[in-house]
Amino acid sequence: MFNIPKGREVPFGCVTPAPVGEQPMMITGNWREYRPVIDEEKCNLCGNCVVFCPDACWQFNEADDAVVWNAKYCKGCLICVNECSHDALSKAYELDFPDGVVRLEKPF
């Protein structure tokens, strides 16, 4: 058969799992002025925020039955706030929160 070097094997059909990762060279968390804040009571897990976020910053957490926000990459576009079907998301000014400090030396 073929002599495939070890470590370069590819799964059958070349089906690879979807990459779950981030690009640390382009951290965009410091682009936002407003951040989305979720009211867990109102959230019905419709998934609009997960689907509409252009940066994939809302992820489903099946175990906790909630959606999780990514502070490192959220650009504060507020599309999720606009698309939320049950008014669970609202915007808040970034300086009100001591956490989520991305703190870069240079912009990128």
Binding site: N30, W31, R32, E33, K75, G76, L95, R103, E105, P107
Partner: protein, 214 residues
């Protein structure tokens, strides 16, 4: 950027005051540019040598990206023409307050610098997000958004084009007023000659809160 040795000696002899302005792309780009050009134009009226330019590495201009504008003032002719960034800013102006949280705005500042921020919060609240505050001599807070309204979104003058709108019609005017109050680099009367919205300029000057540290 490594400097040629001869130029390094020149720069050491001439005292160049470097000012860095942090602002947000597209929506507050004109404001940042107005602050840089306003500082340079006012210092020019005083007979100083000036430079004012955008930062190149922060391009392309995207909405809300943090980017820099630069101004330089000196009593002698400024020899640094090929330094495209301000390595040692004396004054840092932040047009959008949330930038202090995400960027080390005081990078390169020598001890005794001034930080000017457009915010309605107190200097203490801003200092919470600045861990290297020992570099600062003073923090100035001015509520430019409250005085002059929201930013002028205008592409006039972007990337070298001719600026047809004029200087200081929006947020930049109160920020320039606060800048004149906090530093001795430009005078308020000279700024009033180049800025369009003189009322906002004076209100920014009067309402700026200066907190001295160290």
């Amino acid at each position: 950027m490594p400097r040629h040795n001869a130029l390094a000696k020149e720069a050491a002899v001439t005292n160049v005051h470097e000012i860095t302005i942090w602002t947000r792309g597209v929506v507050k780009d004109k404001e940042g540019r107005d602050v840089a050009n306003g500082i340079a134009a006012a210092a020019d009226q005083d007979g100083k040598f000036t430079q004012a330019f955008d930062n190149y590495v922060d391009l392309p201009d995207r909405v809300n990206v943090p980017l820099r504008k630069y101004a330089r003032i000196s009593d002698q002719e400024i020899e640094m023409r090929y330094d495209y960034e301000n390595e040692k800013p004396e004054v840092v102006v932040v047009v959008d307050a949330t930038i202090v949280k995400g960027i080390n705005v005081l990078r390169g500042m020598q001890k005794g610098g001034v930080l000017v921020v457009n915010t309605d919060r107190s200097p203490d609240e801003i200092l919470k997000f600045v861990p290297n505050r020992e570099l600062l001599k003073a923090v100035v807070c001015v509520d430019a958004t409250g005085i002059a309204g929201s930013a002028t979104v205008d592409f006039s003058g972007t990337e070298g084009g001719v600026d047809a709108v004029g200087l200081g019609a929006g947020l930049a005017a109160p920020i320039l007023g606060a800048f004149a109050k906090a530093t001795q680099l430009v005078k308020l009367e000279k700024l009033a000659k180049v800025v369009k919205n003189k009322d906002a300029l004076r209100r920014g000057h009067d309402s700026a809160v200066i907190q001295t540290l160290n």
